[in-house]
Structure formats: structure tokens, C-alpha cells
């Protein structure tokens, strides 16, 4: 009749209210940390999966192999060029190909100067459409660039709303880029990544002229025909480019990224971050468990006489053991329950803060049932396990000695 022991345990926990609360703190901080972090991690993972689905799982990116950190194309060992675009177009299974150029530039607005990246929109209509079809390019104010626009640009969200310059940039503002005046015709919606929100879009031929660039391309986007295997087509592109460049396998100066790879690297990062933080939370939970053990030892000592009374009135060792295990298990479970509730609150708060700060719904806390049930089961088990030694000690007390204890 375990329920009898549980109800006795509840009474005993209530009887020592303050100490019971303090004991539970250790558990619930740890559990709250684990629950909120896993929920956010799960949510982030789901959001990234979704993001990739909308960006298009039918596109591969080709760029020069980076030799350091920096925006794509700025610190590259090799080169990709217009010729590569033509080459990739010929690979079977490829639908459309577009190249983009990204250049660092000095931008002056109302006498204030900043270094920012300029990103090109392809000049050929079908290439431009491939780039613009992805969800990330939405115009908030004004309009998108037309192929005929010569001295016009579209700016990222932060120019207008994040005080990138002292005064906000608006439609019609004039920017000086590399000593040439440009008019802002559109402002993009918030994308959520700092690079894109601080970028300036410019037609590709204008950009090439401005920077006196040859036919270098920063990144090539290739769309794969419907029904084709993306990985196989990516491999074909790799082979074609390698052959064209006369490079050996594994020694290429370019790289091809498929959404799958991005997804995997994101997942790896999320997993590593989660593992680290959960490791820290685990220490808190361990300390919480030791706290329960300490409380239970104190409780056994304080209640030595009670144990004697119970034994005198017929309690078997196993019944005393069960009573104390129920008590420590319940302490763990109660701590875990508070932890789960707290974790959900933290997860939801972070979600809300992220929504306001980033303006994107990327970070959504997600609470699968197994996370909640698992956390509760774990904290009960931890509590009971922490109580094993104190409970054994209690159950082994001799009734005569225990009764004499004051």
C-alpha cells in the first residue's frame, strides 16, 4: 500500500516546510535549466529545418574555399568566375544558375562613414528571379531593384530601423558608396541575420563597374531540376569544375554546399551547445541530489525516536525504508515539477524576447511530452536514489536504541 507511505511522506515534508523548499531549490534550478534549454534547442532545430525547406532544398551553393573568417568571397584562396556559371549550366540535372558578387565598401550617409557589404542582384532576369524567389527578400518599403536601375540601391532593415547611422535611412535617401551617389528605392523586411540586415543590394553590372571587378563571382547558386537527386547533381558539378580546373579530388579550391550540409552543421552546433549547457545543469542537479541526501540524513537523525515508535508499533525494516524512500522521491518529484514549470516559463520568455529582439519566429520553445515526462521521472528517481543511504540507515535502527534517543 504505497499510497499510505506517500501520504505519510507528504505530511512529513509539509511539517518541515522551509527545509523542504530549500532542498528542492537545487533540483528545480537544474531541471528548469535542462527543460528550457532542450525546449529551445528543439524549437531552433525545427525552425532551421523549416527555414531550409522554404529557402529551397533544391539549391546548392558553390563558392571559393574560404581561407579564413569573413563574409563569403572576401577572404578566398581560390576563385569562382562567370565561366564557372556557364560550366555549371551545362551539368545535367541543373535547372538554373545565378552568380552573386559581394564586396566590402565604404558607405557615407550624412557625413557619417561606415564599412558595409554590398551584395549584387544578378542582371539577367532569370538569374535575378532565382535569387529573389527565396523568401528572404521581401520589400518592406519602396520597391525592389529593376534590371534597368543604375544609381539605385535597396538597403537592409537595419539601415532604417536600427540606427545603423545616426539618422535612419529612408526611401529616397542618398548614400555615397565608393564616392558615387546612390538613391535608396527600397527597404527590406527584417531577415534576422546580422549580415543580411546590414547589407546593401545593388544590380550586378552596376556593382562590377563600381568596383572595377572582372568576372569574379562570390557565390554561385544552382537550382536542381525537379526529381533530380541533389547530392548526385552536386557531385557532378564538383567533378565538372574539378576537371575544368585540373584539380585532384580533395584538393579543390572551391566548395559546394548543399542544404543537407548546412542542416548538419547547424545541428552539430546546437547539439554541442546543448551538451555543454546540459552538462552544467547536470552539475546543479547532482548538487541538488546531494542536498536531498543531506536533508534526509538530518531527517533520519531528527526522527530517530519516531522511527523507534514506528518499529515498536510493528513497522518492519522494509516499511521504514519505503517510508523514507517515498519521502526523498517526493522531494525530488516536487522539485522536478517546479523545475518543469519554471523551465516552460523560461523557454516561453526567451521565445518572446527573441521574437521582439530579432523580429523573427525562429526561436520557438518546443515542449515534447517525453521531455516533460522524462524530467519528472528523472527527478523522482534522483530523489529516491539520494534517499537510499539515509533510508537504509533509518530502517536498520534498533527499536530499543531509537526509542531511547532524545
Amino acid at each position: 500500500m504505497i499510497s499510505d507511505y506517500l501520504s505519510l511522506a507528504v505530511k512529513s515534508i509539509r511539517n518541515r516546510r522551509l527545509r523542504s523548499w530549500l532542498t528542492m531549490v537545487g533540483i528545480f534550478i537544474g531541471v528548469a535549466a535542462v527543460v528550457s534549454l532542450i525546449s529551445l534547442g528543439q524549437g531552433l532545430q525545427a525552425a532551421i529545418n523549416e527555414e531550409f525547406t522554404t529557402f529551397g532544398i533544391d539549391k546548392v551553393l558553390i563558392q571559393a574555399k574560404a581561407s579564413g573568417f569573413g563574409p563569403p568571397g572576401t577572404l578566398s584562396a581560390g576563385k569562382v568566375t562567370e565561366d564557372d556559371i556557364e560550366l555549371i549550366k551545362k551539368v545535367s540535372g541543373v535547372e538554373r544558375v545565378a552568380g552573386r558578387v559581394i564586396k566590402p565598401a565604404t558607405i557615407i550617409f550624412r557625413d557619417e562613414q561606415q564599412a558595409r557589404s554590398i551584395v549584387s542582384i544578378p542582371s539577367k532576369p532569370d538569374e535575378a528571379e532565382l535569387i529573389l524567389s527565396s523568401r528572404t527578400y521581401e520589400i518592406l518599403q519602396g520597391r525592389m531593384l529593376k534590371p534597368s536601375d543604375k544609381d539605385k540601391v535597396v538597403v537592409g532593415y537595419d539601415y532604417a530601423y536600427s540606427k545603423l547611422f545616426g539618422k535612419p535611412v529612408s526611401v529616397g535617401s542618398k548614400l555615397e558608396i565608393n564616392q558615387k551617389k546612390f538613391e535608396v528605392v527600397g527597404i527590406m523586411s527584417r531577415i534576422g541575420d546580422p549580415f543580411s540586415d546590414k547589407a546593401v543590394l545593388m544590380n550586378q553590372d552596376v556593382l562590377k563597374e563600381l568596383f572595377d571587378a572582372d568576372n569574379d563571382i562570390s557565390v554561385i547558386v544552382a537550382q536542381v531540376k525537379e526529381g533530380e537527386d541533389l547530392t548526385l547533381v552536386a557531385e557532378d558539378i564538383r567533378r565538372a569544375m574539378r576537371k575544368d580546373r585540373g584539380q585532384k579530388e580533395g584538393r579543390e579550391d572551391f566548395e559546394i554546399q548543399t542544404p543537407q550540409q548546412y542542416l548538419e552543421s547547424f545541428t552539430t552546433i546546437i547539439n554541442v551547445v546543448q551538451a555543454v549547457v546540459i552538462g552544467i545543469a547536470a552539475i546543479s542537479i547532482l548538487v541538488g541530489g546531494i542536498g536531498i541526501m543531506n536533508t534526509m540524513y538530518t531527517s533520519v537523525r531528527e526522527r530517530t525516536k519516531e522511527i523507534g515508535i514506528m518499529k515498536a508499533t510493528g513497522a518492519r525494516n522494509s516499511q521504514v525504508l519505503l517510508l523514507f524512500l517515498s519521502e526523498s522521491g517526493l522531494l525530488g518529484l516536487a522539485g522536478g515539477t517546479i523545475g518543469v514549470i519554471l523551465g516552460i516559463l523560461i523557454g516561453k520568455s526567451v521565445e518572446r524576447i527573441a521574437m521582439q529582439a530579432l523580429g523573427s519566429e525562429l526561436l520557438k520553445a518546443y515542449f515534447p511530452w517525453y521531455l516533460i515526462v522524462g524530467a519528472l521521472a528523472f527527478s523522482f528517481t534522483l530523489g529516491a536514489a539520494s534517499g537510499i543511504f539515509p533510508a537504509l540507515q533509518a530502517s536498520r535502527l534498533k527499536p530499543v536504541d531509537a526509542l531511547r534517543y532524545e
Partner: protein, 227 residues
């Protein structure tokens, strides 16, 4: 001759304290029959408490035999002994020894919990017992909300929970004023009339006189004294 419920045969109990061996009991013999009211008397240090522990089957003898209802307790393991003790002996202590976190009803229920009595039956019996000791109005009070006399009555109700043959009362009036003490003694006497075996451990000659038989313990041995 009536059935023997507790029988001590040449019981010795020794403790080792450091390097010294102390013999608290040196060959006690005692036979308590079912339905008897017996008092165990003795000054402090006489081995009276040790004898009580053995009579109450709370401890094992160093040598000799303790028979509880004909069974040698040395052959029972601790948990088995606890179960048997819970059914056959009810304790009333000088300090009342109620569990402070439990109400009167819950305290009376406790011995029945350990005998796995179903909850409904348990609560009913606990309430009946408390009513019979005059505490029907105080069922849900905690021990600290009750007077000494009331607490002792709760503990008598608890002692009766599993309907044991024997009530072992260790200085049951020691912490009570004389009027309250008297009412507790009357309660024990009436229980004896209802057929319970009462073993009263006391140092008080006047209380001991109320029993049908007095055993006097001194220096770890007993001397029978007639009333």
C-alpha cells in the same frame, strides 16, 4: 492454568561498554498469563527498563529464552518480530511518543498501516477507539494541540489499534498530574476487565498495588512479592 502469553526463562542481557561488560539482567524469570494485570516494580538502575524492552519484545536476550505466545523470539528475524509485536503488544509510554506531524486519528491508524489494514477499515477503527477513550471531538488535532492526558489517551487508543492481547504500559502516569494519572489507570483497569493482559512498569508502589500481581526487580533479578 491460563495460557502463557509472555514468558521469560533465565534471561540475561549484557552490554559491552568499552572494555567493561555490564549485566543489566541476570537471570530473570517471568510468566505472564493471558488476561493478567501484572506490575513490574523496581528502583531506577534496577534493570527494570531493560526487562521492559525484553518483555515488550523490543530487544533480544543475550542468553535465556523469551517466548511470545509460545514462540521463541530469538528465532524470529527483526522484521518478523516487528510484525508479531505489532499484532500482539500495544505500548503506552511515559512520554506518550506520538508522531508530531500526524493527527490523533493518523497516530492511531499507524500500527494498522504496518499491518496492511485497508484504509477505510483503519479510519473507522481509529475513530471508534478515539471515541471510546473520550476523544471523539479531537480526531484531527495534532499532539501539540492536546493536553498531556489527552495525548496519553491517544496513545492508549493507538496501543489498542491492532487489538493486541497485551498492553505494556511504561510509567504511563509519570508525566501527568495525579487526577489525570488516576483516570489513565482506571482506563487500564477497565481494559484488563475486558480481557486485555496489562503489564505495568512503574517505580510507584501505590500504582503497582492496583495490579493483581507485582514483580519486584533489583540488581537485574526478580523477586516475587505478593500483594
Amino acid at each position: 492454568m491460563k495460557r502463557s502469553i509472555i514468558r521469560l526463562e533465565n534471561v540475561w542481557k549484557s552490554y559491552v561498554m568499552g572494555k567493561v561488560r555490564v549485566d543489566a539482567l541476570r537471570g530473570i524469570n517471568l510468566d505472564v498469563s493471558l488476561g493478567e494485570f501484572i506490575a513490574i516494580r523496581g528502583p531506577s538502575g534496577s534493570g527494570k527498563s531493560t526487562a521492559m524492552n525484553l518483555i515488550g519484545c523490543l530487544d533480544y536476550p543475550t542468553s535465556g529464552t523469551v517466548l511470545l505466545d509460545g514462540n521463541d523470539i530469538s528465532r524470529l528475524r527483526e522484521s518478523e518480530l516487528a510484525q508479531v509485536r505489532g499484532r500482539k503488544i500495544g505500548f503506552v509510554f511515559q512520554q506518550f511518543n506520538l508522531i508530531p506531524s500526524l493527527s490523533a486519528v493518523e497516530n492511531v491508524e499507524l500500527p494498522m498501516v504496518f499491518q496492511n489494514v485497508p484504509k477505510k477499515k483503519r479510519i473507522k477503527r481509529a475513530m471508534d477507539l478515539l471515541s471510546s477513550v473520550g476523544l471523539g471531538e479531537r480526531l484531527n488535532h495534532r499532539p501539540r494541540e492536546l493536553s498531556g492526558g489527552q495525548q496519553q489517551r491517544v496513545s492508549i487508543a493507538r496501543a489498542l489499534a491492532n487489538d493486541p492481547e497485551v498492553i505494556l504500559a511504561d510509567e504511563p502516569t509519570g508525566n501527568l498530574d495525579s487526577a489525570t494519572g488516576k483516570s489513565i489507570m482506571e482506563m487500564l483497569i477497565s481494559l484488563n476487565k475486558e480481557g486485555k493482559t496489562i503489564i505495568l512498569v512503574t517505580h510507584d508502589e501505590n500504582l503497582a498495588r492496583m495490579a493483581g500481581r507485582v514483580e519486584y526487580i533489583m540488581d537485574g533479578k526478580n523477586y516475587r512479592r505478593l500483594k
